[in-house]
Structure formats: structure tokens, C-alpha cells
């Protein structure tokens, strides 16, 4: 039997619920303690064996010894059955798994096809790790049936394993099942289904905090193949221009302290570099500040470089853009909004730092307005409404936030009618299109209790849902939360919940600040000064050209006209040319890739155990897996969950016990062989 239960006392529990039941769990120990109950009852029963006084044993003398033997035997058998029943129940609650050698499946059953998911994130760029990953994937490949998917910020099918190269992006396993579903939807499903093999270094920073995030999507038999090992690494975590200085943060992901040299210079210019030596303790961060001259209106890209010569050199450099775009002027229309909602919104705008809100009471809007936010207006004055319509028709962007007044009025100033509120209990937020810049950020802790329903029209795009749960996605209980509408040349984002704690926890979560900031950025078409490699970046204008540091065009004009967002994979400083404006954008690696510590073996065991109950019985028998904690990381084994069998056996024992315990009520002679020969 495999699992931490065998070695450390813990074992994978019910992964679907995220609950861990181990041999040290209270319920399991209580189950074991329950074994004392039948022991005690049998003991008492033996003591309290009732004696019946009769006139004479003359007619019964012949039955003594055989009956005693039979009675003792029946007593022991019943006790054993009852103890075994309770022990099986207790054991089943511990969710044990049986580790067996792979390939022992029945040949008659359909063999699942292997889908090899190769981690193509930044941490896999380590040469020896990537070589190990390719070797592992190569050993899994079977001609004709296997497919390889390179997983980075996007999933891509790879035709030749040798052609696969890791990216600079981050791989987050949280959304992987759903993303795999999207890939598999493009492939014909094999008769035996799919058997997913994930080859990765399984960084702790790549696995979700909540196990449920791995349960979404179709559950296929799963095998995890860990490659590489933890290594010391240091990174420049952030670099920003703060007035007349550049502030950088150096982070240690090492088990030891180290003296490091940090240098600052203009990007692409190795001369005139400032150097500072810092001592970074293990697992800590150090802030470094470099003075810089005032740049005026000139845009300067500053490069902060770390001389670490560590495992991941890509994270040893960061850039800060001096002379970025001023905060957008955002018109705030809130004629009837309550004070609390207005406070929440204003605070979020200030915290995001991307907008300079200008509250207007009438139709006299400043000409420099980059975006508008309309907060729960109810019925707008006619002049203000016409001003908003004109603004949108001319290409402006607006964020419309619904609320009690809007619901009572039954309509928003633009965008359509509201059909009433939907109250369906607490629901969480699911980003429908996570490539949209609005969807960036963590929604996990946001709970939505109430939304208004919007009368949808063609062309509307639902960006986020208030969903009841992964298993209920797509049913009517899901309600649109954030909708994008095209109105003339402009666009409007409509948030269908109120900035009110009674409607949900959105305003209390950090995600709200991100939502407001992203929305303003998106609507105001601000050029993004900084982005992560592989991350979706909003196109700041209808037509954009992006050039890398060497002047090579990385995004052509025709590409930007077709898509509202782009992804830039390689880190560096890019020049963004929009009509009449040139700006710079720094693309960094995601420093979550810098921490090379692997996820816990327990977590990976639970994840892998998910696949044990997956559909495709043929796949179950064929399933191969690697216990991540095992010394031989490449030994191929499969984990067979024993709980269903234990429960079935317990049910059978219960039936046998019932029959055996009540045999005396019937005139059966099933045990007559024990006392044969008497009469």
C-alpha cells in the first residue's frame, strides 16, 4: 500500500472535497477505537451467558461438548466479522491506495492514449532539467497514439518532441485541467480515453493554494513525472522608478545567504553602471536604491541586473521605465450613488494608481477624459445620459456598475435593460476569458451573493461569471458578472453586482482594486509600462506596432488590429508605437518561477490520486504514476484506490454477519456438520 500513511502517517483523502484523511486523523482513530465496542459486547455476552434452570438434563446430556464447540466457534466468527467490518470502514475512510507496477492492465481492454504535458515554463529552461524532461517524455512516447503538449502561459500541441523549447512564461497548474480540456476538444478522443502524463519540476509556486482548483474540467487518469531538483536561486523581483531613484528588490530563493552585486544602467548600455554589493540572507528580500537623473519627458528604460550566476539567469534582470504615461483622467458619474459605494470605488482608483478620478455632476465633461465610470446611477439626467452616449459613440470607454437603484429603474443609462436580481447564495467568480486583461488577478476569495440580470444582445462578451461551483458550471445557477459591450466605436464594461457588502465580498477583496485598475487601463487604452512574459496585455490603441530592443518588430500592425490583447513571451524592453505616440514597455519574467522549491509530495500524491477515480476503466488499470516522494522519480507505477473495494467488502461482511448472527432464528442446518451424529 502506498501513501504517506505508510511512511509519515498521512495519505491522500477525498481530493474532491480537499479534505485530507490520514491514519492519524481523529475520525480514523475513532474508527479504530470503535473496535473496542464489539470486543466489549462479546466479552459481556460471554460473561452474561444466561443459564436456564430445568428439571433434569436427562434428555439433553448428549449435546454438551459439540454445542460448546460450535457456540465458541460461532462466537469467535461473529466477533471476527464485526471487528473486520469496523476495521474495514475505518480503513476505507483513510483512502488507502495500492501501488502496483504499471502495465499490468488487462490487454483485452482499450489502452488509453497518452497525452504528455511538458512543462515549458521558465524554471524548465535549466538545461539539465529540460534534458531530463525530454528524456522522460521520450520514454513515455508511443508511436501513433501519444500526443505532446507544451505548457507555458498557453498550451500548444507539439508535433516533434525535439522541437519543443521552454518559454519564459509561468505555468500555473490551477487552470490546467480546463485548459487541457480545450486542447483535447481539438483532438479525436481515443477509444480508451486519455491518460495524462505531466512532466514537470512541479514548483510549489505553480500549484494552487486550494486543491479544488485542480478538480475542474474533465478528470482523466493522471500520472505525474517529476524532473529536476530544488536549486538555489536569486532574482530581481521588482524595479520601479520612484522620482529620482530606481528602487529594486532582490529576493533570495536559496537555502543559504550570499553576497551579490547589483548593477543599474540604461537598458542596452553596459557602460556607466552603478554597482552595489548586498548581502541577502536565505529566503529574504533586500531593497536596493540607485539615484538617477531627472528625465523630463524623455522615456528611459533602466536595467537592474544581478550578478548571481544562478540556476535561472532570466530572472536576474529587471527594467524600470522612467517617464511613463500620466494617470488617466477618469470621469466619475455617480449622481445617486450611496456614500459607501463611492468610497469603495474612489479608494480602489487611488490604490490602483492608474487613474485620476474627476467627479462630474452634469454633462460638462473634461475634454481629456480617458474613460468614464458610472456608479449605480438609477435614472441619469437626460443631458448626462446623452453626453455618455456621445462619449461612447466617439470611441470612449465606460465602466458601468449596477446596484440597487439601477435594478429598481430596470435599466442602465446605456447598455440595456436589467431584468431583476438573481439571488442564489454565495457564488464564486470564474473568469470566462482569462486571456482578457480584465481577468488578470486572483478572484479566488471573492464571493458574490447577488447580481442583476442583463438583457443580453448580440456581440456582448461575458468576461466573468458568478458560478456556483466547478461541477455546476454552465447551468442556470451561473450568472454573468462582468459583460463587455461594443457601443458605437466605444466599449463599455458592465459590472452586474453592486459595490455593497450585502451583494458580495468583491469590494472587500484585493481583486476589486485590480479589477478597477485593469478596467481603467483597458478602457483608457493606456500603454502598459510593465508586463509579465506570456501575459495578456491590452492593445493600447486600435493599431499598434511593437518592437524589441534590437528594433525587430515582434507584433505587426495587422496582428494588433485583429486582437484586443497580445502576449509577449520574451522578457526585455519593448517599444510600443501607437499613432502619434511612442512608449516603452518592460516585459519581465514572473518571479514566481524563480522559486525552485518543489511542491510537497503529499500534495502531488493527492493530485495524482485524482486520476485514480477518473473515467476510463481501461486507463485505470494501465495508469502509471510516480510517487513524487520516491527516491526513483522515474519509476513508473500506478496507484489503485482501495476505498471502494474496502467498502464493498465491508458491505459483504455486514451481510454475512447478519446471516450468521440470525441463523438460529431459522431452521437451517448450515452448521449441522459441526454437530452431526447426534439425535
Amino acid at each position: 500500500m502506498y501513501g504517506r500513511a505508510a511512511s509519515l502517517g498521512g495519505i491522500a483523502g477525498r481530493p474532491q472535497s480537499g479534505r485530507v484523511v490520514s491514519f492519524l486523523a481523529i475520525a480514523f482513530l475513532a474508527g479504530l477505537a470503535a473496535l473496542a465496542v464489539p470486543l466489549w459486547l462479546h466479552r459481556m455476552n460471554e460473561r452474561a451467558a444466561a443459564e436456564t434452570t430445568i428439571s433434569s438434563l436427562m434428555l439433553m446430556r448428549e449435546t454438551e461438548e459439540p454445542v460448546r464447540t460450535r457456540r465458541t466457534l460461532a462466537h469467535r466468527v461473529l466477533l471476527a466479522l464485526r471487528l473486520a467490518f469496523l476495521a474495514l470502514i475505518a480503513l476505507a475512510f483513510a483512502q488507502p491506495v495500492l501501488e502496483t507496477a504499471a502495465g499490468s492492465g488487462d490487454d483485452d481492454r482499450a489502452v488509453p492514449a497518452k497525452l504528455i504535458v511538458l512543462d515549458g515554463s521558465l524554471s524548465m529552461r535549466r538545461a539539465e532539467v529540460w534534458a531530463e524532461a525530454l528524456a522522460t517524455a521520450g520514454s513515455l512516447l508511443e508511436s501513433g497514439t501519444s500526443r505532446v503538449v507544451l505548457a507555458g502561459s498557453r498550451l500548444a500541441l507539439v508535433s516533434e518532441l525535439e522541437a519543443a523549447t521552454p518559454s519564459w512564461a509561468r505555468l500555473d497548474f490551477a487552470g490546467l485541467p480546463n485548459r487541457l480540456d480545450a486542447v483535447l476538444a481539438t483532438l479525436p478522443e481515443p477509444p480508451g480515453g486519455w491518460h495524462i502524463h505531466i512532466v514537470s519540476d512541479f514548483q510549489a509556486s505553480a500549484v494552487p493554494d486550494r486543491f479544488n482548483a485542480l478538480v475542474e474540467g474533465t478528470l482523466w487518469p493522471l500520472a505525474l513525472h517529476r524532473v529536476g531538483a530544488a536549486e538555489d536561486n536569486w532574482a530581481v523581483e521588482a524595479a520601479i522608478v520612484d522620482g529620482d531613484r530606481v528602487a529594486a528588490t532582490v529576493a533570495s530563493y536559496a537555502a543559504r545567504g550570499r553576497n551579490l552585486a547589483v548593477a543599474l544602467g540604461r537598458a542596452g548600455d553596459d557602460a556607466e553602471r552603478q554597482r552595489i554589493d548586498v548581502s541577502v540572507s536565505a529566503g529574504t528580500r533586500r531593497n536596493v536604491t540607485f539615484p538617477i537623473p531627472a528625465a523630463g519627458r524623455e522615456r528611459v528604460a533602466w536595467e537592474v541586473a544581478l550578478d548571481a550566476s544562478d540556476a535561472v539567469p532570466e530572472d536576474d534582470v529587471a527594467w524600470a521605465i522612467q517617464g511613463a504615461v500620466d494617470a488617466a483622467a477618469v470621469v466619475l458619474v455617480a449622481p445617486n450613488a450611496d456614500a459607501a459605494a463611492l468610497r469603495f470605488l474612489t479608494a480602489a482608483l487611488e490604490a490602483s494608481g492608474v487613474a485620476n478620478p474627476i467627479r462630474v455632476e452634469d454633462a460638462a465633461w473634461p475634454r481629456s477624459a480617458s474613460a468614464a465610470i458610472v456608479l449605480d446611477p438609477g435614472q441619469l439626467p437626460t443631458a448626462t445620459k446623452r453626453r455618455l452616449e456621445r462619449y461612447l459613440a466617439n470611441g470612449g470607454g465606460a465602466l458601468l456598475i449596477a446596484g440597487e437603484r439601477s435594478q429598481r429603474h430596470g435599466a442602465l443609462p446605456v447598455g440595456g435593460a436589467l431584468t431583476g436580481s438573481v439571488v442564489a447564495g454565495a457564488r464564486r467568480v470564474v473568469a470566462v476569458d482569462d486571456s482578457h486583461p480584465i481577468a488578470r488577478g486572483s478572484w479566488e476569495d471573492v464571493s458574490i451573493r447577488r447580481t442583476v440580470a442583463l438583457a443580453a444582445s448580440p456581440g456582448d462578451t461575458i468576461l466573468a461569471l458568478a458560478a456556483t461551483g466547478a461541477e455546476a458550471r454552465g447551468v442556470q445557477a451561473d450568472a454573468p458578472l462582468l459583460v463587455e459591450k461594443r457601443l458605437g466605436k466605444g466599449r463599455a464594461l458592465i459590472l452586474l453586482t453592486a459595490l455593497d457588502r450585502e451583494w458580495g465580498s468583491l469590494v472587500l477583496q484585493p481583486a476589486f482594486v485590480g479589477l478597477v485598475g485593469n478596467a481603467v487601463d483597458y478602457l483608457a487604452r493606456n500603454p502598459t509600462p510593465s508586463a509579465k512574459a506570456g501575459e495578456a496585455v491590452a492593445i493600447p490603441a486600435a493599431s499598434v506596432q511593437i518592437f524589441d530592443a534590437q528594433g525587430q518588430r515582434v507584433l505587426a500592425l495587422d496582428e494588433t488590429t485583429r486582437r484586443p490583447v497580445v502576449r509577449i513571451d520574451r522578457p526585455g524592453v519593448y517599444t510600443v508605437r501607437t499613432p502619434g505616440r511612442v512608449s516603452s514597455m518592460a516585459v519581465h519574467v514572473d518571479t514566481r518561477e524563480s522559486n525552485l522549491q518543489p511542491a510537497s509530495a503529499d500534495f502531488l500524491s493527492r493530485w495524482q490520486a485524482l486520476g485514480a477515480g477518473a473515467r476510463g476503466k481501461a486507463a485505470l488499470a494501465e495508469q502509471a504514476a510516480v510517487p513524487p516522494a520516491a527516491a526513483d522519480a522515474n519509476a513508473e507505477t500506478s496507484l489503485l484506490p482501495l476505498a471502494p473495494w474496502l467498502l464493498a467488502l465491508a458491505a459483504a461482511l455486514l451481510l454475512v454477519e447478519s446471516v450468521a448472527a440470525n441463523l438460529g432464528r431459522f431452521d437451517f442446518r448450515l452448521l449441522s456438520f459441526l454437530g452431526a451424529g447426534r439425535g
Binding site: I54, S55, S56, L57, M60, T63, G664, G679
Partner: protein, 305 residues
Amino acid sequence: MNVPAAAPLGQQTRLLSPALLAQLGSLELIARAVVDGTLHGAHLADRPGFSQEFAEYRDYVPGDDLRFVDWNAYARADRLLLKRFEGETNTRLLVLMDQSASMGVGDAEPTKLRYGAWLAAALVHIAARQHDAAGLLTFDEEVRTYLPPGPGRSQQQALYHQLDAMKPSGGSDWTEAFAYAARRMAKRGVVAAISDFYCDAADFGRSLRMLGSRGHDVIAFHLLDLGERCPQFGRNTTLRDIETGRVVEVDAHELRAAYPRRLASHEEALRRQASAAGAHYVRMDTDEPLDGALVRYLRFRGRRP
């Protein structure tokens, strides 16, 4: 034979159930009630005898003893009439009553000992009505009480009192009790032995023959209660013999089939031994009315001169 327990005394007394008798309390009253009912139903025939008490006339038929022709009647009626007198059927009754511990076993009322006491009291009552001398011998492992047969009301009361005072205890020694009775009953009489007869059939036969060979008429009342006829034990039950203290564990499965056979075999063996000894064997169930046994007794008694 079962009737509602509330049946009035008198006309219905031969149908009195043991449960109702158990409520009467007084042994004498029970005996009287049982016997009255029994006699009403039994049609006891009167037998003419040779006492001084005139009974009836009947026509003379050839062969009759001319000494009993009433000549005065012949002179008056010109018919030969024969005078008949009440018969004298006086005899002795000795009740051998087993009061061993096995007679007191059982949750249900009455116990075998109580039922036996009623039976003995009824026999004593009948004997007293017919002017027979009645006596009592109670025993378990040894003879506990012996009241030699005697006539009269005081004897009757003494017997009732002794029957009422019996307490179940100890084992039972039939050989000793029958030998004791044989030694004490010099004249022939009727011996009624009341017991559950958990003894070897051969010993039982030898004991009966001990009295039968001396000319006594012996009737053996074998008492069984419902629990002995149809034992209802759990699947595995520990049984303790109340007299020997021995313990065995039995299985209801096995008992259900084997025990009735063994009981019937034992009963048959007792019956054969009684028949061989010239005795009557009467099995009585303590949940049945007493009258059946008494009818048997009276018919048996009626054969005696």
C-alpha cells in the same frame, strides 16, 4: 377443554383451568370443586353390596339367591322381588408425592408440585367421600412425611395441610420411597404416585413392581409442564439441572428435532414399565384441567371390589 377462567363454580367446575384453580387458594376448596365437577361428569355407577342399608328391589330371575327374596313383598304383590343393599367398597389410598426440586421448576403457574398437590388433594377428597382411607407419603432424596391411610375429616385436613406445606428441594429416590411404602402398607390398596419421573425407566419399573407384587393397585401420574414438552431455548443456551447442578450447553436447532423424540421415547418406556408392573400410567400436563386424570382414577377405582 379450555374454558374461560371466569366460569362459575359448581356446574362448570370439571372444566376449571389450572389458572383459575391457582386463584382459589384453599386446597380443600380446590379439591372439592374439582371432585364435584368430576363426579357430575363421570356417571359413577352404584354397585350393590352386602351392607345393612337397603338400596332397591329388582325382579327375581332364575339363579338368584333365594335368601334375598322379600317374601313380605311377594305376599302383598304376588311378585318375586329381590332386595338389594348398598355395597361396601372401602379401600386404602396412599398418595406418593414427589417433592424434589425438579417439581418446583418453571416460571409458569402452577408448578408441577402445585399441580400435583391439587391432584393429590382431589384424590384424597374423592377417597373421603367414598369412605376410603387416605394417606400421604412425600419424599425427595428420602422420605419426608408419611401419614398412614386413615378415615375421617381430621385425617383429610391433615393431608391437605401436609400437601400445602410441601417445598421443593433435593433430588428424588424412588426406590427408597416405594420400598418405604411397601413396608408400611400391609393391606392391599391403591397407590397413586405423582411425579415428573425423571428417572431411569428400569428403576421406575422395579419400584412399581415392588408395590404391584404386594397386590396394590398402582397408578402413576406423570406430570409435565409446557416448558418441558416444548422447550423454547435460544440458539445457544446453558442449561443447569436443578437437582444435580450439572450444566450443559444445548443448541435449539438440535433440541427442536431430537428432544421431542427423546421425551416420547422416555414416556413410552415409562408406560411399558408401568404396564409390565400391572400399573396404570397417566401423563398429565400442568396446563390442562385436572378432570381427565380424575376420571381415569375413578374408572380405575371402580374396578376394585
